[in-house]
């Protein structure tokens, strides 16, 4: 491995600072005791966090987002496991089409998806339904899960399953005792990536949330269009915190470099 020279190191440091600085500043501002987004601040206070936790709309939206992310990630995994097993292992007519279909939401702008979903919800009379919101988020997060699972299953030694068969295991037992545990890092990694994506999603959700199903990013957007106060920074800090925990977990169970660089 070659070491970076001083110029390269300087450049890398600049990029990292450029990317991290806004996050750091938002987190610092969140602790301000003042009434405006100001830095440097005169002291340290948790008043804006307190304000968030006492703001019923934000609390409600937080729970909405959490449930939405948990449900859509779980359902996406439940759908993607059999789908990616079928796509990687069997030759069947429509296999390429199915593969493309599952991955296509990745290349459709969320804005377009939002408009389309809005129209669809109106047609089926589902406007404002939390169930349909979950379904819409599934469409967005399933491709991420599929990508990770297909990578996990492609590197799978089929003879391990054959060994289990030869020892007398039924097909269901082989899946439960051998296949699933062996692709578990891919499953967990996929779930976490799906969770993060759903929890963060704004563009599509703006179109399809109703007053009772407003998600946290949408609530923030709505609030920020009217007024900017340090409570925004506090909410942002909380989201950054939750996402960071999820990413750390992801790195522990699956390895970030495997997702981002595509190594196995």
């Amino acid at each position: 491995m070659t070491r970076n020279g001083p110029v390269a190191l300087f450049f890398h440091a600049l990029v990292v600072i450029f990317m991290l600085a806004p996050l750091v500043i938002v987190c610092l501002v969140a602790f301000t005791p003042e009434n405006t987004l100001s830095l440097p601040t005169r002291g340290f206070s948790l008043r804006w966090f307190q304000a968030v936790f006492h703001h019923p709309d934000f609390v409600q939206s937080f729970w909405n987002s959490l449930w939405l992310a948990v449900l859509s990630a779980t359902l996406a995994v439940a759908l993607a496991v059999p789908a990616s097993l079928a796509i990687t292992r069997w030759e069947f007519p429509g296999r390429g089409f199915l593969n493309a279909l599952f991955l296509s939401p990745l290349i459709i702008p969320h804005l377009v998806l939002g408009v389309a979903m809005l129209r669809l919800f109106a047609v089926v009379g589902a406007a404002g339904s939390f169930g349909w919101l979950v379904a819409a988020h599934m469409v967005i997060v399933t491709p991420y899960v599929m990508r990770l699972l297909i990578a996990a299953i492609s590197g799978f030694d089929r003879s391990v399953e054959q060994a289990a068969f030869s020892l007398g295991a039924s097909e269901a037992t082989v899946f439960r005792r051998v296949t699933l545990p062996m692709i578990l890092p891919g499953v967990t990694g996929g779930w976490l990536i799906a969770f993060i994506n759903s929890f963060d999603e704004l563009t599509m959700s703006i179109f399809i949330t109703s007053p009772s199903t407003v998600t946290l990013p949408v609530r923030m957007y709505m609030y920020a269009t009217e007024s900017i106060d340090p409570m925004m920074a506090a909410v942002s800090a909380l989201i950054i915190g939750i996402t960071a925990v999820a990413v750390l977990l992801l790195d522990r169970v699956y390895g970030l470099d495997r997702i981002l660089v595509g190594q196995h």
Binding site: Q162, A164, L167, G168
Partner: protein, 364 residues
Amino acid sequence: MSFLELKNITKRYGPLTAVGDVSLSVEKGEFVSLLGPSGCGKTTTLQMIAGFVEPSVGTIRLDGRDITRAKANSRGLGIVFQSYALFPHMTVFDNVSFGLEMQRVPKGERKPRVEEALSLVHLSPYAKRYPRELSGGQRQRVALARALVIRPPVLLLDEPLSNLDAKLREAMQFELREIQRKVGTTTVMVTHDQAEAFSISDRVVVMEAGRITQIDQPYRIYEHPETEFISRFVGKTNLLPGKVVTATGAGATVSLAGISVPVETAGLSVGETVTLCIRPEKLHLTAPAGGLLTGRVADRFFLGSQWLYHIDGPLGTLMVVTPNDGSTPAEQGAPVGLDWSPSVVRVHRGAMAEAPDVALEVTG
């Protein structure tokens, strides 16, 4: 009736015939190896016995029962895979115990049986480890214990030693045979390594392009290869094209580029084109005029226990292997005589095939 019987087994993949009309009988307790270069159909044959591949034609019987269409998980066979195929998320103990669990062996009975299997392969202290914490040889033993613990009627080994380094491979060969003798399980092994097949099998089945070309005891295959392919594939050999000049009831004389050589093969006819096959260790170096041929040492290679000579002579370059008995070897360029007894010459009818296939394994 044999214990395991394959009758006219054929497997076609579209227009391609992977295995063609293979019939094989294995007796109870026997160790049989399927030997051949890659792509000869030996692994497909094993997978049909295991139940992972369904034959297009033919029947497989195990102990009198037709298992041709039986599912792999109802056959109860023990299989050791080339990649070992251990369950990576289970400990050694759980790996071995898995088969007993599937057979609904009561929990109290499982533990002693797993321990017995692990001690058979000398792995008792490793029961709590995970496969990734073991060396290749140890993983191989876990795979063997896992296959044997269910007391299978037949043990199938798919290139079991090919992932081990040379020294370990040799040690495992003998250990494998010893364990097989101890438990007495009928065993079918697939290998492309003739030394492996010869050293541990009761019988060797040579396969070539999806068909069986010879089934025999290892030394008989070496000494009496039935085809030119086998004589090339199995060990080193000198192949000499010739023509039959005289033939009697008990033998014949073959002319090799003008030199007449006696052979002991009966039933040849005068004028017939033949290929003579002589193993290098059956040739002797003599004084320059003392043998059937004279030649010159073109090259010599010291192999430790043996010397390998390349002798240039009227028949081209011949390989000669002599044991290293401690005496001074013939010098490079020295004139030598070559002698052999007519009884060691094998005669294949027909002309010599083209130069040997590069893919063939040459194991000294």
